[in-house]
């Protein structure tokens, strides 16, 4: 059986045109997907049952035992951290907020190690953006800054920019100018019309130089800025100002390097300057398929997009203090529930060490690096494959991911619901 228009639960592109072939409740073929989509849909590595760490190794336990362990762990904790969320659907994230509120815990998503700094910048200066279709149909200048879509978002260029058909472009591929700004000459840089190679840590200076030139103050810009010649910067500004519709996409090259949210703020303010001359927009390249959903859900439920601390009853937000990395590095939290992410692989060792010391439960379909640090892992159905639910694309468009095969395991929201119910019961509510 072929299923059309399936949504891919891998990256923030949320491509929704995959064709999946299912035989005997197993996926046997994936069409239209990128290599990341294929790997995800064809994965057969799920755990079959919850596991618990013993002295020597691991043993299988029942769902009831695993859920009870989680409930007891959270109720016993003084400073529980509920982390991850980007790899699950919105309905599960909602229950996650309720659970955090109930135990006075901290809830944070992988945002804090991807576009958290972008959010801090947006909270300072706002965000002139648009949906991806606006770019696809109109943009004649596209800038990728500090990101490498051909590796991290493989279909971004073919669905939304360079190679996509656009209503207002006769021949999109020829008419669109693509500019790539990076410290490495990546695959993406090689297909660009213009590659700006900057020195590590030079983003802020280059953005400032571009802003100065846009404002007509190019004379203050030195001959070379972070390895980029003034003449190239001037050429870029002319391209941007002459554009009918320009779109900047930026990645972790801005958020993870020196300057962090100030880099992003500078990029947004460049768009602000350019908006006085022509149409310009800017969009963060969100990584996990539903990381933006975690920000949306947390925001309407608590008022803040990530790093929310309920320890005083109210929702309290202070990234740098209430974000997962800082809490773990300070060894402050005393229990951790991890869902839909793998901090064991993606957090600095100094944080991971603390995870190994405290009670930790992982809700995830497959064994990950975090499994090694956990006390219990509860396998679940995979959202977008054998569980459905809501996801938010990198531009904020909500899409329902589908269930293409029948699940054999409970899904995230079912597991969280029973954890929540048992906790309420224990608290006499």
């Amino acid at each position: 059986m072929k299923i059309n228009d399936v949504v891919c639960p891998f990256c923030g592109c949320l491509c929704d045109d995959l064709e999946i072939t299912v035989e005997h409740n197993r996926i046997v073929a994936v069409d239209n997907g990128c290599t990341l989509a294929n790997a995800k849909f064809m994965s057969k590595e799920q755990l079959a049952s919850p596991i618990r760490r013993t002295g020597e190794g691991w043993e299988n336990i029942s769902y009831d035992e695993a859920i009870q362990y989680t409930v007891d762990m959270l109720l016993d904790a003084d400073r529980p951290l509920l982390y991850g969320w980007s790899g699950t659907h919105g309905e599960a994230q909602c229950i996650g907020v309720h659970v955090s509120e109930l135990v006075g815990g901290i809830i944070d998503s992988t945002t804090s190690v991807c576009h958290g700094p972008s959010i801090l910048a947006i909270q300072e200066v706002g965000h002139p953006g648009c949906t991806l279709g606006r770019v696809k149909n109109r943009a004649d200048v596209v800038i990728y800054w500090g990101c490498n879509p051909l590796e991290a978002h493989p279909r971004h260029m073919s669905r939304y920019t360079t190679y996509a058909d656009g209503y207002f472009l006769q021949n999109a591929f020829r008419e669109r100018k693509v500019i790539v700004v990076d410290v490495r000459e990546t695959e993406t840089a090689r297909v660009a019309d213009e590659f700006i190679r900057i020195k590590e840590g030079g983003d802020y200076a280059v953005l400032s130089a571009l802003r100065a030139i846009v404002r007509g103050k190019g004379d203050v810009v030195p001959e070379s800025v972070a390895g980029v010649s003034r003449s190239q910067l001037e050429r870029i500004v002319t391209l941007c100002k002459d554009a009918k519709f320009g779109a900047i996409f930026f990645g972790l090259g801005l958020t993870m390097t020196r300057g962090k949210y100030k880099n992003v703020r500078n990029a947004i303010e460049l768009v602000d300057e350019l908006s006085r001359h022509t149409k310009f927009t800017i969009t963060p390249m969100r990584g996990h398929w539903n990381v933006y959903g975690s920000n949306e859900v947390f925001t309407w439920m608590t008022g803040y997009p990530y790093a929310i601390d309920f320890c005083r009853g109210i929702a309290f937000y202070n990234p740098g203090e209430t974000s997962a990395i800082d809490l773990l590095a300070r060894k402050e939290c005393d229990a951790c529930l991890i869902i839909g992410s793998d901090p064991g692989a993606h957090f600095p060792r100094g944080c991971v060490e603390h995870l190994a010391e405290i009670p930790t439960v992982v809700i995830d379909p497959v064994p990950t690096m975090t499994t090694a640090l956990a006390d219990v892992q509860i396998p679940v159905a995979v959202s977008g494959i054998d569980a459905d639910g809501t996801a938010y694309r990198m531009d904020g468009v909500p899409i329902r991911v589908r269930k293409v095969i029948e699940p054999t395991l409970p899904n995230d929201r079912e597991v969280l619901k029973s954890i929540h119910a048992k906790m309420k019961e224990a608290k006499g509510q």
Binding site: N4, D5, V7, D16, G90, C94, H98, E101, L102, I119, I122, Q123, E124, V125, G126, H127, P128, G129, C130, T131, L132, G133, R134, K136, N137, R138, Y160, D165, Y167, F168, K244, F245, S275, T278, K279, F280, T281, E296, V297, T299, W300, M301, T302, G303, Y304, P305, F310, R312, G313, I314, A315, Y317, D388, T390, Y392, G396, V397, P398, I399, R400
Partner: protein, 566 residues
């Protein structure tokens, strides 16, 4: 079966012509009934003012741009925080509260139904998700059609029936309630960083004018037999001299429906400015109200501005950018492919600022100069003019000349030379306020037959009991009393259940989403239109099959099925 009897209620129910009568209200299983048995739960209202639950017919509380208002504003979130307590979740936010914050605060003020003012169809799922988490109000969504490509194409081709068919398909698909036009044509022009300058200014490339869009949508609305009329945010919002644009727009409106208005013009305060620049801006409320008084086919809401901090948010992207260039605070924009735009900036309305003082005055003038309160609904265009928690103060300003004068004395001293407010003596009555917040919005939205906005037999038992005795309180001299009473009910009852008692919400609650499903003949069904499907899959970034909002998002819902003349 659950029964409730409210004794000694001093009822104002304008749709049933009840004005201050002390009576009992019987409720069974969520509906108003003639009588109940002796086992019914009894609430003694003790002669307190009792009205149908409040209805906000234009407010921005759920969806993509509202949430972005929260997301970008931790300072606003910090300005209104409550901890988890009983059935109440923690809340954050002052001008853009979290969904629970919004729901609890509306409920405490006796509001039980609200219309989200602007939903982009592509992002409808988000609005519905937030509806689910707004548990104490029944919700509807205005659906944006101001820059819809296939609709503009159909209008350009002179095919209004096709335009109507696309509207109908979209409303069903996204579980929307009504046609919303926000700066029609302007949001598409904003895709190139431009705007339209008047209702005769053609939209780039599509070559249709705002006037053509408005007229076509009014016609389409009636073809689809929708409960509500076209809901219009006029072009040129916030620009000095825009009253001309507003008056020209009003002149476009035929009297096309004998049950309700043919056009609902929203937040008209922002569209009633004279002058040619910020230096000589003045009120043109008198001309606007003269037009309204002579055109029963038009209903407006005020869009009142109140002093203090708030957040502006609208689908009108170009307007927000202009406003940003005045305020230089922070600016978000979010264009939606093939459909519409949006923008957000935080603002501070200062009583020491002449323009802000004039805006404050104009909103009140609109309510006071519109002869028929059924034609002017109380609103702040929440949160654009002010957060909805300011409604009680607005009620007091409308009911008391003395209070108005007192505040007028504190605004910018030049205000009086630019507005007629000081010369207006009218004081609205309790009944006028009930009309402007219950009867009129129910009628204008076309939901009175669903049992909204009144307390007749069979109506939904959505009831607000305010701690005030209207026979002992003269609102003209008791502004403080009025503000206190309207700020917090003794009881807010939803579907026959006490949901809020003196500000404390008593239940988890569950909202109902009201939406429309026009039945359209096969010939006009977009599901079987190859041209529509081809362009959809070519120019949208979401496949047509993934676009409709699934049943999962509207678990409890009320679908209004209409027979379209198509």
């Amino acid at each position: 079966m659950t029964e409730l009897l409210i004794r000694n209620a001093c009822v104002i129910d304008p749709l049933n012509d009840i004005c201050g009568e002390v009576m009992d209200i019987a409720v069974r299983d969520g509906k108003i009934v003639e009588s109940v048995g002796s086992g019914a739960e009894v609430i003694d209202a003790g002669g307190s003012l009792t009205m149908p639950g409040g209805i906000d017919s234009h407010t921005h509380i759920c969806g993509t741009k509202v949430n972005f208002g929260r997301y970008m504003s931790p300072e606003d979130m910090r300005a209104g925080r409550t901890a988890r307590r009983g059935h109440m979740h923690s809340t954050s936010g002052y001008s853009v509260p979290t969904t629970y914050g919004t729901s609890y605060r509306y409920s405490a003020m006796g509001y039980t139904t609200a219309l989200e003012g602007a939903m982009a169809p592509l992002e409808a799922r988000h609005t519905h998700e937030e509806f689910t988490h707004t548990p104490l109000q029944d919700m509807m969504a205005n659906t944006l059609f101001d820059g819809n490509w296939p609709i503009m194409q159909a209008i350009h081709d002179g095919d209004i029936r096709r335009a109507a068919a696309i509207v109908g398909w979209t409303l069903s698909a996204v579980k929307g309630f009504a046609i919303k036009l926000t700066n029609p044509g302007g949001t598409e022009a904003w895709g190139w960083g431009k705007d339209v300058a008047s209702i005769r200014d053609p939209v780039p490339h599509f070559e249709v004018t705002p006037a053509e869009i408005i007229r076509a949508m009014i016609e389409a609305n009636e073809m689809l037999n929708l409960p509500h009329s076209v809901h219009l945010h006029c072009n040129c919002l916030g620009k000095p001299g825009n009253h001309q644009c507003t008056l020209e727009t009003f002149d476009l409106v035929p009297n096309a429906n004998n049950k309700r208005q043919s056009l609902y013009a929203t937040h008209v305060q922002f569209h009633s400015y004279g002058g040619s620049s910020w230096r000589d801006i003045c009120s043109r409320s008198e001309e606007i109200c003269r037009a309204i008084n002579s055109k029963p086919q038009i209903v407006i809401d005020m869009g009142q501005v109140m002093f203090g901090k708030t957040t502006t948010m609208t689908a009108d992207g170009p307007m927000e950018f202009n406003l940003y260039r005045l305020y230089h605070n922070k600016w978000s924009n979010h264009d939606v492919e093939l459909e519409t735009g949006s923008g957000i900036i935080p603002v501070y309305y200062s009583r020491k600022n002449l323009v802000n003082s004039i805006m404050w005055s104009i909103g009140l003038e609109l309510a006071l100069l519109t002869d028929n309160p059924w034609q002017c609904i109380l609103s702040t265009d929440n949160p654009n003019g002010a957060p909805f928690v300011k409604y009680p103060e607005i009620m007091a300003l409308l009911m008391s000349k003395r209070y108005r004068n007192e505040i007028f004395g504190t605004v910018h001293p030049d205000t009086e030379h630019n507005v007629p407010l000081a010369a207006i003596d009218r004081e609205l009555t309790w009944n006028d306020i009930a009309i402007m917040t219950r009867g009129a919005p129910a009628k204008a939205l076309g939901i009175e037959d669903l049992g909204k906005g009144h307390l007749g037999e069979g109506a939904d038992a959505d009831i607000a009991i305010y701690p005030i005795n209207i026979n002992e309180t003269d609102p003209a001299t008791s502004a403080e009393e009025v503000i206190r009473a309207f700020g917090q009910t003794d009881y807010t009852i939803k579907r026959g259940r006490v949901v809020c008692r003196q500000g404390t919400c008593m239940v988890d609650g569950k909202n109902t989403t009201i939406w429309v499903d026009p039945h359209i003949s096969e010939n006009y069904s977009m599901d079987h239109d190859p041209e529509f499907a081809k362009n959809f899959d070519r120019y949208y970034t979401v496949r047509m099959s993934n676009y409709p909002v699934q049943e999962e998002y509207i678990r409890r819902n009320l679908c209004i099925e209409t027979e379209a003349q198509l």
